[in-house]
Symmetry: C2
Subunit: 333 residues, 2 copies
């Protein structure tokens, strides 16, 4: 079985160059329309199926990386220095260990998220993608984004998709070392499409997505049908994007999200991220659609809801859904 270090050697061997000591980068968050749910390799974050996302434009993670003389890495998140015991710090330091040119070198990483941290808003995706972009600059690797997506994926699966704006497809791949489990942007620029973030509940989720996926894969009888679901939905979505068929894209995204949550509910014990507010928001979306407003939802491993709609309807939708934060997936930072 391949491990992370083997993969990193394949990609980075001979690539380290003298480069900048202070770098500042940005990576967008992304929301999957066709979900990543289930790993075939827990170490390398290799997925069971392909997935397809929209990036969130200027909403994501800014990452400033600099060298430090301290004995440990310093991690500053949204202006607050985190203690070495913080789970996010442990996870990030372990990830950085994979890449240090000299075992003793330490970094100061200042991450600022322009999207609400945790609660299912994929800040780990943009966070890890930004760190990998920063390391690329710091060490002068000059890697293509596709290669960076492999490295980012080993930090957080969905980070694989956070190297570009717009539609991004993450190919599951088949190889044991995941060198073919790589993301790529779709050529299609469908700039009318927006993503709206609806914060319903700011509580940290009780069960993390890695644990939820693992339990679903191991115990949910319905999960067996998930790969066929994704195959069907991915075909529909790619065709909808090609034909600019917004209704087909939205309906398929909604179906895919509900099916993902359905596989979790059938796990033992069940995984239920839904809160009463989530259900009310879904019903409001359906009601709005009945009244002729074309809006669809998607939902990740948390209680919050994301809306998919077109720019022409932005005002009407922001009026209907109070507190909505709208992202433009093709807007560069």
């Amino acid at each position: 079985m391949a491990d992370k270090q083997t993969v990193i050697s394949k990609i980075l061997s001979g690539k380290y160059q003298p480069a900048k000591a202070v770098v500042d980068v940005f990576a967008p968050a992304n929301i999957a329309l066709c979900k990543y749910w289930g790993k075939r390799n827990l170490e390398l974050n290799l997925p069971v199926t392909d997935s397809l996302s929209l990036s969130l434009g200027t909403l994501g993670s800014h990452c400033k990386l600099s060298d430090t003389d301290k004995a440990t890495d310093r991690i500053v998140l949204n202006g607050n220095e985190l203690s070495a015991e913080h789970p996010f710090v442990k996870r990030l330091v372990t990830f950085l260990d994979l890449f240090r040119e000299h075992p003793s070198e330490r970094f100061c990483i200042e991450t600022t998220n322009t999207i609400p941290t945790a609660a299912g808003f994929a800040s780990s995706a943009s966070g890890f993608a930004a760190v990998v972009k920063a390391l690329d600059r710091r060490y002068g690797w000059q890697l293509p984004a596709a290669q960076l997506s492999i490295l980012a994926r080993m930090g957080s699966g969905s980070a694989s998709r956070s190297l570009w704006q717009g539609f991004v497809r993450w190919h599951a791949g088949q190889s044991d070392d995941g060198m073919d489990s790589v993301s790529e942007p779709l050529e299609s620029q469908w700039e009318e499409i927006c993503i709206g973030l609806l914060v319903l509940n700011r509580n940290q989720k009780k069960i993390g997505s890695t644990e939820a996926m693992k339990r679903t894969v191991e115990t949910s009888a319905l999960y067996r049908a998930w790969p066929q679901q994704v195959e069907r939905d991915m075909t529909c979505m790619l065709s909808a994007i090609e034909q600019r068929d917004f209704e087909m894209l939205g309906k398929t995204a909604e179906t895919n999200a509900l099916a993902m949550h359905a596989t979790m509910m059938a796990a033992c014990p069940p995984v239920l991220y839904w809160q009463p507010e989530s259900l009310i928001a879904m019903q409001t979306v359906w009601q709005a659609r009945n009244e002729g407003l074309p809006v669809y939802f998607t939902m990740d491993a948390g209680p919050n809801i994301k809306l998919v709609f077109q720019k022409a309807d932005q005002d009407a939708i922001e009026k209907r859904f109070e507190g909505l934060v709208t992202a433009n997936p093709w807007e560069d930072d």
Copy 2:
């Protein structure tokens, strides 16, 4: 393909005897712990899988059947005579047509439900079972209950299980005419177990269970895994009943109900019976269990919740869940 009339001829040929002109019978409602979800034959209500229920003791349908000189059947439900246009009347009259000894004879059927009508409380199961029991008396067929379960099933699938108290297993069977799709009571009398009905929402459901099943079978990719789910859950439940393992019975019932709803959510368009109150009730059940109160839920094609618990905890549970109606599955009417 076998039709209803063929099945009825097999069962009833030569059985009509001069008998009572006025009969009065009762059939209990039942709640499935391992659900019936999906038909392999829409005409005969033949299920894809086995199912297992608990009957509701004195909660069910009283049915008084008498002859009438009128030109049409008179149907009185809970004291109100229904018009010939009422969907329930049409369904019942079509069912009665299958059994009349003389094409011109008409009945007066007075049904009184001791359980809230519709909203997922299975009054059609006890209603059709009671009508079949009444016809058996009216015509002097003197059929064993297993044969009556075949006839009742052609009126409403789950009526097949409403001919007995306690645990009832409905065998899916394999034959085209459904002569082996028959229910039978389990020998086990586990009288500590209660079912609590929690009325959260009295609205009629927007989509009937027959239509919901059909859509799920035809469009839900996850439904393909449902038969394996049932096989696993049925094995667990039978073993739990044999070992008097209440926790295993309760957990499996909860898992099975969530998995059934999961198959519906993945249908296109999705079928979602949940209301915010349903989700709150589920969370309350989990919270109560965390605090040491052994209570589990199940849920059918409607927004309401049913609780499974033991008599020893009845007071504590009725205090916790306001308005709960408790049924004793081994209590005879």
